[in-house]
Symmetry: C4
Subunit: 236 residues, 4 copies
C-alpha cells in the first residue's frame, strides 16, 4: 500500500506519478490565478464565493498531499523540516491556525505555493551550475554596476536638481532615474532637461548600458558553454 502510494507521489517515472505531479501543478497554478482574481476591485460576489470554495477544496487536497508525503517518506523527520516540507506546511497551515480563510491577512502566505512548482523542475540545477561558473565575475560586475549607478545619480543630481528640484529632489530620487535609464526601461517620469544633464546622460548611458548588460551576457555565455559540453558528452 505504502509502496503503491510512494510510486504515485514520489516517482516521476511511473504514469500515475506523472499524472499526480501534473494534477498538483495545475492545482497550484489555479490557486495562484484564484488569488490574483481576488485582487480585482469591485469583483462579482459570485466569483468571490466560487474563489473561496475553490480555496477550501485546494486546501483539502494540499492537506491530503502533505499527509501522504509524510506517510510515504522513509525519513519523515527530514521531509517535514526540508525546504519543500516547510513550503507544503505553510501553504495549508494558516487556514488551520486561524480556522478561517481570512482573505486579507493570510493572502501572501498562500502565494508561497508558487515554490511548490519548483519541486517539479529539476532542470533548475543547470541554471545554478551556470551561475556558479561565472559567480565571481557577476559579483564584480554587479559591484561596478552599483558604483556606476551611484556616480550617475550624484552627477545627474548636481546637474538637474537646480532646474527640476521637484523631480530630481535628492540623490536617492536620482537613483530611480539611473536605474530606469541604465536598464533602458526609460519610463519617462524623470527626464533631464538641462544641456549638462543631457550630455552627462548620453555619456553615462553608453557605458552604463554595457555594464548592466554584461552580467546577463556572462550568464548566457556560461549556460551555452554548459549546453555545448553536455552535447559533446552525448556525442562521445
Amino acid at each position: 500500500m505504502k509502496l503503491f502510494l510512494k510510486n504515485i507521489i514520489d516517482s516521476q517515472d511511473t504514469k500515475s506519478g506523472k499524472f499526480f505531479d501534473v494534477f498538483i501543478q495545475i492545482l497550484i497554478i489555479l490557486s495562484l490565478v484564484s488569488f490574483s482574481l481576488e485582487t480585482i476591485p469591485n469583483l462579482d460576489p459570485q466569483i468571490i464565493r466560487l474563489s473561496s470554495l475553490f480555496e477550501i477544496i485546494s486546501i483539502i487536497i494540499f492537506t491530503i498531499e502533505y499527509l501522504l508525503r509524510i506517510y510515504v517518506s522513509d525519513r519523515k523527520f527530514s521531509y517535514v523540516f526540508s525546504f519543500y516540507g516547510f513550503i507544503d506546511f505553510v501553504a495549508i497551515a494558516p487556514f488551520y491556525l486561524s480556522g478561517t480563510i481570512d482573505l486579507r491577512s493570510l493572502r501572501v502566505v498562500r502565494l508561497l505555493r508558487i515554490f511548490k512548482l519548483f519541486r517539479f523542475n529539476e532542470s533548475l540545477t543547470l541554471l545554478k551550475k551556470a551561475f556558479l561558473i561565472v559567480k565571481r565575475e557577476m559579483i564584480i560586475f554587479s559591484f561596478i554596476a552599483i558604483m556606476l549607478l551611484y556616480i550617475s545619480s550624484v552627477g545627474i543630481y548636481f546637474l538637474e536638481n537646480p532646474a527640476q528640484p521637484d523631480q530630481f529632489s535628492s540623490i536617492f530620487a536620482c537613483m530611480w532615474w539611473a536605474i530606469s535609464t541604465m536598464t533602458t526601461v526609460g519610463y519617462g517620469d524623470m527626464v533631464p532637461v538641462t544641456v549638462g544633464g543631457k550630455i552627462f546622460t548620453s555619456l553615462i548611458s553608453f557605458i552604463g548600458i554595457g555594464v548592466v548588460s554584461i552580467p546577463t551576457a556572462l550568464l548566457a555565455s556560461s549556460l551555452t558553454g554548459l549546453l555545448h559540453i553536455n552535447k559533446d558528452e552525448l556525442d562521445k
Copy 2:
C-alpha cells in the same frame, strides 16, 4: 505542356521559375499593402475603388496559380490537403463563397496570404533546427521568466496599490507593468511612485531583464553554433 508549367511553378532553379516566384511574392506583398491601406480612416474613395479593383485582379491571379499548382502536382490530393494547399485555397475561397469582395467580414482571411510568402523561404529550417537544439532550455527559462513576472506583479501590487489604486488595480493589471518593465519597453503608462515600489522595481528589474533576455541569447548562440558547423563542413 505540363512539364513546361511544372518547371515554371514548382522549380526554383529555372529562370522562368524564379521569375514566377518573384511575381507571386510581389503580388502577395501588394495585396497586403492594399489590405493595410483600406484600414486608413477617411480614405479617398478613388483609392478604395483602385484597391478593390486590385483585389479582384489578385484573386484572379491567385486562382489561376491555385489551379495550375493542382494541375502540375503529381499527387494532386496531397497538395490540396497540404498546409500551403490549404493556404492557397483560403486566400481565394471567401470571394467565391460570398460572391463579393466583402471588405469587412473577410478581411482577416485575406491576411493568411502572408503565409504564402513562407513557401519561398526554405532557410527557415535553419531557425527551426537552432530552436530544437535549445528547446528544453528555452522552455525552462520561459517557465522561470513567467514565475518571475508573476512574483513581480504580486510584489508591485502590494507595494503600489495603496498609493495608486487606479493604476495598479489588480495583480493582472500589474502583470502588464511587469511585462512592460522586464522587456525594457517601459511605456510609462504605469510607473511606481512609492519608495518601496521603486526599490522593488530596481531589484527585480536587474534579475528580470537577465532572465527575459537569456532565451534570446540561447537561440542566437545556438544559431551561430549551427552556422559555424556549416562553415566547418564547407571548409573540409
Copy 3:
C-alpha cells in the same frame, strides 16, 4: 616636390602624413559642428557671422586639399571619378556654383563631408567582412522580423482600434507602435489599453524582441569570431 606632397597627403605612415590626416579630420568635424550650430533657433548674429567665416575658410582648405589630391594622384581621372573624389568635389562645389554660402538650400550637401571621415577608417573592412559571413542569415531574420512586425501591427489594429480609433487609426499607424515596442524603445505615445491588446502585446513582445535582437547577436558573434581568428593567426 610632387613626391613630397604625395607623402603628406596620401601616406598614413609618415609623420607629416598623419598630421595632415588629423588636421583634415578635425576640420571636417568642426565643419559639421558649425553646420549643426546654425540650426539652433534665435542664434546670436555674432556666432552666425563666425560660422560663415569658418565655412569660407574650410571651403578654401578643402579646395586646396582637392586640387592637391588631383595633383599628387598618378591616375588623376580615376581619382576624380572615385567615390571619395566625388565627395571631395561635392563638399566644395556648391559654393563655387552658386557663388555664395547660401545657408539654406545647400546645407545638406555640406553634410556629405561626413563621408570624407570614412577615408581615414580602413578598419571598416572588418565590419564588412563580418557582415558578409552572416549576410544570408541576417536577410532571413530581417525578413522574419518584418513579417512579425506586420502581423503584430494587424493584430493590435483589430484589438485596439475600436478602443482608441485616434491612436491606432490604421495598420500603418500600428506599425509605428510595433517598431517602438519590438525595439524596446517604448516611447509611450501609443499604448494598448484593452485587455486583449495587452495580452497580445505580452505574447508578441517576447517573441518579437528575440527576433529583432538576433541579427545583432549574429553580427556580433561573427565579428568576435573574426577577431579570434585574427588572434589565432597572430599566435601561430
Copy 4:
C-alpha cells in the same frame, strides 16, 4: 609593532587584515549614504546633526587610516603620491583646510571616497584585460555609433523640425532624441509625429540599435573568452 600594523592594513590574507578592509569599506559606504541623505530636501534637523557627527567620526578614522598607511609603507613617498594615496588625502583634506565641515562647497570632494572602494577590488584587472583585447574594435564601433547618431540627428531634424519646431529645435536637440532612441531608453519626451520621421526612425533604429549594442557584445565576448582561458588553465 610596524609589522603588526602592516599585517592589518596592507595584507588581505590575515584575518585582522580582512576585518580592517571590511570595516573601512563599510565606513566608506556609510559615508556615501550619509552624503546622499543630506541632499534630501526638508530633512529632519536631527538627521542632519547625526549626519554631521558621523562625518566628523569618519574623518577622524580616515585620518588615522591615512597616517597608518604612511607609517607602514616602506616607501612613504611613493604611497603619498600614488593614486590611492592622493584619494586618501583628498577624502580628509578639505576638513582640515577649511576647519569646518562645510556641507555645501566641499560636498563633491567627499564623494571621491568612492574610489577608495576600488582598492579592495583587484579583480578589475580582468575587465581591463578584456577591454584591451577588443580595444581597437570598440574604438571603431564607437566611431561608427557616433557617426550614425549624428546622421540620425540631422535626418530627424529636417523631417521633424517643420512639424515640431519646439521639440526638434536644432541638430543638438535631435542628438538627445537619437541617443534616447538608439540606446532604446525611449523617454518619450521627443517623439516623431510626421510620416517621414516615423519611417526614418524605423529604418535607423534597427541599424542603430545593432551598432550601439555591438561594443557591449564585443566586451562580453572578450570577457567570457578570458574566463574560458582561465578555466582551461585550471583544468590542466
